[in-house]
Subunit: 253 residues, 2 copies
């Protein structure tokens, strides 16, 4: 027990140093996420990690609309060419794993000790296409985040349509990621959703978020969710997030 | 295709007659739910149904706090005694299945035709204790609804804690059920949640909802979520629901 506690404290200290380490690596200090399990966003060397599955890449369950939007944004992403040069692009695809903690500095130890069976709510089902299929992209120049979601058959609420809680989950995922990019580790403080039109199961929707303002530890974000072609508004929403320290959360909330 | 359409229309007509049928059975016409898969609430004879599993009954994954609250409310529920008499009680346990549609009048046909693999979002995981374990109770005299939820390890958002979307899902489940009891079939129009304190994975929480007012097709509901002993406030929230017709939803939203 004492040894576990010692390991945990050391891991927490390392977690606390993520921001400064990112700065050293030339990345902004604002990219620690609890929501998007963002190993890539942390900018840490691959030696820290085993090779997890990146769930934000296409799989056989993705339908035509999901693939169309993925390719639309992915084709505008910066990438390393075969010649080893970096191609510029306004968008960046955000990889997504089934747990954040494991992929942060020191998180390997923590994830073994703290609820090792835990999995990210939006990535907890192994049956491809059954629940949430999604990919997020971020545009740093325009400070915009988009999410493309395909709603599986296990998300039912009203007959044949997506549950209101599943819709809230999609929104929280996109705006939480955006707030995290803007301010570092955050928790949702307020989420206010107007549901305008039900979403049939199987449909693909597009979520777009914008940061309205920052005030100290607070960041205000808005988000709208439309049909994949943008013609139908499903929801509009606002949210407030507050910055937190990871160690505070883990050592007793 | 034509035959399927014909069956569907007949089933929809039957669904449309649920309210009047309920009245004939001496039940209020306000108990059709999309959220709580309420075969029992519909008051229909068992011959209409196969025998589905009632997920709101205790299982081996339920911890001491979950069991304590279940027994606290269940002991105050009305029930039929061994002698065949009805024992009075202010509370009623609301059974819960993994799909609504199948258990409404005519819904057997619809559930075969419309997304037959679909499952209620909150009941889509067969691994007991992994996601949402919950039971709802309703008190008609006080017009109060409570939900007791135990949060499983697959609901993670912030490390070791419940995802904001999973919390929204719990709230939507309780207040959606309450609004349905008050006004018949409804859809969520607005959901506004203040997140006050994170919920550690594995914890049991208590949700209590009240109907504030009704205006035509609108019903306004409030809800607070506390720790199982009531000492810590996790969220407070408000919501607006609007009445709808089932057939409108199914034939094109």
């Amino acid at each position: 027990m004492a040894r576990s506690l010692g390991r945990m404290c050391k891991a927490l200290q390392r977690l606390g140093s993520v921001s400064s380490m990112q700065s050293q690596l030339g990345r902004p200090s604002s990219c620690v996420s609890f929501r998007t399990d963002s190993r890539d966003m942390l900018g840490l060397p691959s030696a820290f990690f085993s090779k997890p599955r990146d769930f934000s890449l296409p799989n056989s369950s993705w339908g035509p609309e999901m693939m169309r939007l993925y390719e639309q944004y992915n084709s505008q992403c910066g990438e390393e060419t075969e010649g080893g040069e970096n191609r510029e692009g306004p968008w960046k695809r955000l990889p997504s794993y089934n747990r954040f903690l494991k992929y942060a500095t020191g998180g390997v130890y923590l994830s073994r000790m703290i609820h090792k069976k835990a999995r990210l709510f939006t990535r907890n089902n192994r049956d491809q296409g059954a629940t949430f299929e999604y990919v997020l992209f971020f545009n740093s120049e325009e400070d915009k985040c988009v999410g493309v979601f395909q709603a599986g058959h296990l998300l039912e609420g009203p007959p044949g349509h997506v549950h209101g809680g599943a819709i809230a989950t999609m929104i929280d995922t996109v705006i939480g990621t955006h707030a995290t990019i803007a301010c570092g580790p955050v928790l949702t403080a307020n989420l206010n959703i107007n549901y305008r039109r039900p979403i049939p199961l199987g449909n693909t929707v597009l979520l777009e978020s914008s940061v309205d303002k920052k005030e100290g530890k607070k960041v205000f974000v808005t988000c709208k969710m439309t049909s994949s072609d943008g013609s139908k508004l499903h929801t509009d929403s606002t949210a407030l997030f507050v910055s937190i320290k990871v160690s505070q959360l883990l050592l007793g909330s």
